[in-house]
Amino acid sequence: MKANCWFGKRDMRVVNVPDPKILNPRDAIVRITSTAICGSDLHLYNGFMPTMEKGDIVGHEFMGEVVEVGPGVKNLSVGDRIVVPFPISCGNCHFCQQTLFSLCENSNPNAPMAEQVFGHSPAGLYGYSHLTGGYAGGQAEYARVPYADVDHVKIPEELTDEQVLFLSDIFPTGYMAAENCDIRPGDTIAIWGCGPVGQFAIKSAYMLGAERVIAIDRIPERLRMAREEAGAETINYEEVNTYDALMEMTGGRGPDACIDAVGLEAHGAPLEYAYDRAKQAMMLETERPIALREAIKACRNGGTVSVPGVYGGFGDKIPLGAFMNKGLTLKTGQTHVQRYMKPLLERVQAGDIDPSFVITHTLSLEEAPKGYQIFCDKQDECIKVVLKP
């Protein structure tokens, strides 16, 4: 089968690889009908994630038709149409049972390695380096889905792939980010990053009762989508100072909660960006936590900073003094997708939201490398790329 594989920095290639097989009794094999490129895939593309190996199949947002099930899978049949959550979760461990699916203790066969870096290992992920288990990803024609009997939502026929694909990752991610803000009536939420996750965070914040949502970015088409599709007020940080603008817009108090939907590859004001970029080049820092710093500074006293943005290593100059003295709460984590799939699918079915609004490009699987490039360089007004195997 064809699969998109990592071969180095800015080097993705679609090559021929063997078809996946059932390896464990609880596996299933899915024929992939749609798959997408995630913002966090760009960290692999740009060489920021260690423990990648040439030939790794990437991709963790995928859906399709079940074509084979292992003997241990009783609640799925061949022919079922499912969206696959990006964290691999066993369903039996302490964390899965608490619905903390992205913290599964059993799904990462390389857990001792992750333990060295993080203290404890999170769940295995599809196509996201050997630190998370080295699982083959879903930018391919077929994928092996371990623990296939855990909470897979079957998709009704009348919904298109484009309407449900993002239940795999970015819609629940934006939703969990908003949920973590603990939104009360009258709240103002500020969201750094108008990429696809940011767009879903905006929509979710409104769904959860926010009165105002202010979105921050510098790319014109993303700001426009945030305003016109998602309904937010926007700040272009290349035109105004974010903190000053937020102060004015929130009556001097600051937003009640701030969402960092940017993560480790942030851009920002020239000096700060240069500082972090230089440190990265000299291997003194692995992240550029510019958005996080701004969020901590701008957030009102006693507010919440919610971080769906992906970080992998160690950041520098985090304003802990501001964080502590303002009594902020930090909530973060890889999304517990399985927890949200059913309720969010119901929202889609009810017509509350059509997630396909973020899609700007649909390419064939063979064009994946081009998809990565235009997504990364923000060319052709690219916001979200869907691939069709």
Binding site: V15, D19, G91, P109, N110, M113, H130, G134
Partner: protein, 334 residues
């Protein structure tokens, strides 16, 4: 390890403290501290001298009665500096001090030939030789002291490089009852299912068993072992019987986790690597490093008991010949 001492007259709950060693420990500590002060002094001396040679080679050259060897002096200065830093950076800088002795030998040799060269200020060179000889004596004394300390500690059965090299302890929590985990573990034939280095374990009688492990280069290593203590739902202690190539013993304990969150499983494994070639056998038997192997084994038994299978990626597709990564997956899991 002296022969005939048997090995580890050993109490199952590992509360072993070698009383005799404890008594002389304080004395030894004082002595060590004096040596460390001397070593630190030599370290600072190295740094000072090194900086002088690097930054003012003409002045240093004058002082020792040698003319016009500025770049040589700078090189020697760099070496001095490196030695000094190495000494100060370590707690027991044996190797760094021996490197100082080597450096001293070089210096003496150079000064010796300087003596015979033209334009040398003979008196100053002789003075320099005397000074270096004095420092060399100090370096040699300090190096010998630190080396003998190491031998002493080694003789007492404790490695100085990594104190607990022969013992591995690891704890994991499994979401099953203690009785269930005990029953699974007590059936020793289950062990190869999660301990990768084991090929097979067969039962001889209710206490004894025969173990086969993967040896180096596709060979097999076999030994017999016996259960020396067992308490259902609480602990299993076993040890290899005399004649085993690599004597080893282990205890696994099962305790209730707080809040009813399963069972805490604590493994304490001791193995005794003989020196030389057989030491390599140990590495193959227990994986590259047992400290790495045991956590992976425990993770596997947890997966087996909680999910019914062991998470794996061997056999999955990839854009390369091997399905897994040699550098990461195989290094960790094989």
């Amino acid at each position: 390890m002296e022969a005939g001492r048997g090995w580890f007259g050993w109490i199952p709950d590992f509360g072993f403290a070698v009383a005799g060693y404890g008594g002389t420990k304080l004395e030894k500590k004082e002595k060590l501290m004096n040596e460390q002060t001397l070593a630190n002094g030599l370290g600072w001396f190295s740094i000072g001298l090194g900086l002088a040679e690097l930054l003012a080679p003409e002045k240093v050259g004058q002082a020792i009665g040698v003319k016009n060897h500025h770049s040589l002096l700078r090189t020697l200065g760099a070496r001095e500096l490196a030695s000094g830093v190495a000494i100060l950076a370590q707690e027991k800088p044996r190797e760094a001090l021996w490197s100082r002795v080597a450096g001293d030998a070089i210096d003496l040799g150079l000064l010796g030939s300087a003596l015979r060269s033209e334009g040398a200020d003979q008196q100053r060179v002789i003075g320099a030789i005397a000074a270096v000889a004095g420092v060399t004596a100090l370096d040699v004394y300090c190096s010998l002291q630190l080396s003998s300390d190491r031998k002493q500690l080694a003789q007492n059965g404790q490695s100085t490089a990594q104190p607990k090299r022969n013992q591995i302890r690891k704890t994991i929590t499994i979401n099953r009852s203690a009785e269930e985990i005990y029953a699974f573990w007590r059936d020793l034939e289950n062990l190869p299912r999660f301990m990768n280095h084991l090929k097979a374990v067969s039962i001889i009688d209710d206490k004894r068993s025969h173990w086969v492990a993967k040896g180096p280069a596709g060979t097999e290593v076999e030994w017999d072992a016996e259960i020396i203590e067992e308490k259902p739902g609480e602990l299993i202690a076993w040890r290899s019987l005399p004649g085993a190539t690599v004597p080893n013993a282990g205890v696994v304990r099962f305790e209730k986790a707080t809040g009813g969150r399963g069972t805490v499983v604590k493994v304490n494994l001791r193995y005794h690597p003989p020196g030389g070639a057989a030491g390599a056998t140990v590495a193959k038997l227990f994986g590259e490093a047992p400290e790495k192997q045991i956590p992976v084994d425990l993770l596997r038994v947890k997966q087996l008991l909680e999910t019914g299978e062991i998470s794996r990626t061997e056999g999955q597709p990839a854009g390369r010949a091997e399905s897994t990564s040699a550098k990461f997956d195989n290094w960790l899991r094989k």
